[in-house]
Amino acid sequence: MEAALSGGAGPRRRLAERLLDAIQREVAIALHRSAARQGRDPRQEVQDLVQEVLVSLFEHDARELRRWDPTRGRSLESFVRLVARRRVARVLGQRRGNPWTEGAVELEEGPDEDGLEERLEHRAELGEVLQALHAQMSPRDVELFELLFVQGLEPGEVAEQMQMSRGAVNAWSYRMRKQARAAARHVVDAAGSDPPPAGRTR
């Protein structure tokens, strides 16, 4: 990668082209079920977002791309997908006027709503919550979320892999849990007040 980045426009472009497919897959995941794409030409939307991610990777002399460290075990494509996930979430959030992308999050402790998860799942809005959450995440947040909740690793394993203490992983989980619930409330409130699924009492 260093050779490509120091080799001028041609090698940089070839490197960018190599990353297109990985970026497109993340864009497709984000756009699938995303309310933000409604009314737009999906093909153009894919291209716009892929371009947006490419620019974020290569701008400022590829500062973001240079963060990739192969010694940490993640492939370049996998690293780029992490970057793409955050970037696309932020772009889509900004487009929807989503206050969650502005950085100022009110972590107000509301009542512990029974069935929040079911209400979200019932309305296929988990993707919206995840998008709101990703828009808030730092690179480390994305990586921790991936290891803990997507790959399902034990906190001890994650702590070791991320060179963190077990307590720090727990504290991160606690903070992320609150952010997720606040994001979920935001999505549910924004979608209206449909009743919870049948058979569920509150």
């Binding site: 897959r25 699938h32 490419l54 620019v55 979200l120 979320f145 909740f149 307590g167 504290a171 992320m176």
Partner: protein, 303 residues
């Protein structure tokens, strides 16, 4: 409060990812980019990068700061801490630099790495020069003289009338226009007066002042049809203002203003935010307290 919601979010993401990686999902999303699309994406990205590199002195306040490492690596304990009690296993998150990943440790804000404070015991080279003891006195005299000049200048200028306020704003020019797939830059001397695009077509405009503008500026858009009343909008998304008053607009046409197919004249008004119009009535002022740049747009039917 358990991790149930996070677990479900993780499962949902894993399922969607597996499906997309298998090529399942809406074809318009998962079909790989064809050669022409790939070329278009790469051309657009590198044109933007080239343009941004040409204007490196301009740092836009909005739009991209979310990806600045300075924010990403802010200490975790910047996050407001909960009022709710935390059990023993929930220790505080690490301080900056502690338990951070190698990636993060190499991404400390550049500013903090580059600032080299002079300690009280250090002396500058000028301290050793003959007559250096006069420097503080000379500096004081110059500072007083500068303050008097500034005061005299301010007294002559204030209060400003509306035309004076406009005159105080330097002229603006388009330095970059992207409409759909076509890119035009002032360096190429090819800024067009007329562009064509669909409502969902991407439009990128850069407007730079003749000299830096230090006062806050905003942007309003006035779209005038061949016949009929104008449409006035104050776009909230897709507009970035640099510290020097340069303006960058990056959005789809629809995000800026909803226009039906046909011929339109798009005026970009740059001025003090509180003086820009919010509607057609706001255009009915005397000397306009803003700068105006115009672009003729043919809005093509969607698709």
């Amino acid at each position: 409060m358990s991790d149930e919601l996070l677990r479900r979010l993780g499962e949902d993401l894993a399922k969607r990812r597996e499906a997309i990686d298998r090529g399942e999902g809406p074809p318009e999303l998962v079909r790989p980019l064809d050669d022409e699309e790939r070329r278009s994406v790469l051309d657009g990205a590198f044109a933007r990068l080239e343009s941004d590199a040409g204007g490196e002195d301009e740092t836009f306040e909005d739009g991209t700061p979310e990806d600045e490492p300075q924010q990403d690596e802010a200490p975790e304990d910047d996050v407001p801490e909960p009022v709710a009690p935390v059990d023993e296993s929930h220790t505080d998150e690490p301080e900056a630099g502690k338990d951070e990943t190698p990636e993060e440790s190499t991404q400390r804000p550049e500013t903090s790495e580059k600032v080299v404070p002079l300690s009280a015991g250090e002396r500058s080279i000028s301290d050793d020069r003959p007559g250096s003891s006069l420097l503080p006195i000379l500096g004081t005299v110059l500072a007083i003289a500068a303050a008097v000049l500034i005061w005299l200048g301010a007294r002559e200028r204030a209060p400003q009338t509306e035309p004076e306020r406009v005159a105080a704003l330097p002229s603006y020019t388009f330095t970059r226009v992207v409409a759909g797939d076509a890119t035009h830059r002032s360096a190429d001397d090819s800024i067009p007066e007329h562009v064509e695009l669909t409502p969902d077509g991407r439009i990128e405009l850069e407007l730079r002042p003749a000299e830096p503008v230090r006062e806050p500026v905003g942007v309003a858009i006035v779209a005038r049809p061949a016949a009929g009343p104008p449409i006035v909008t104050r776009p909230s998304n897709g507009v970035e203002i640099s510290a020097n008053g340069a303006v960058r607009v990056r959005a789809t046409l629809r995000d800026l203003v909803e226009l039906r197919p046909g011929e339109w004249t798009l005026s970009l008004l740059v001025g003090a935010p509180e003086r820009l119009p919010d509607g057609p009535a706001g255009l009915e002022v005397g000397p306009a307290p803003w700068r105006t740049l115009e672009l003729r747009v043919t809005v093509l039917p969607p698709g």
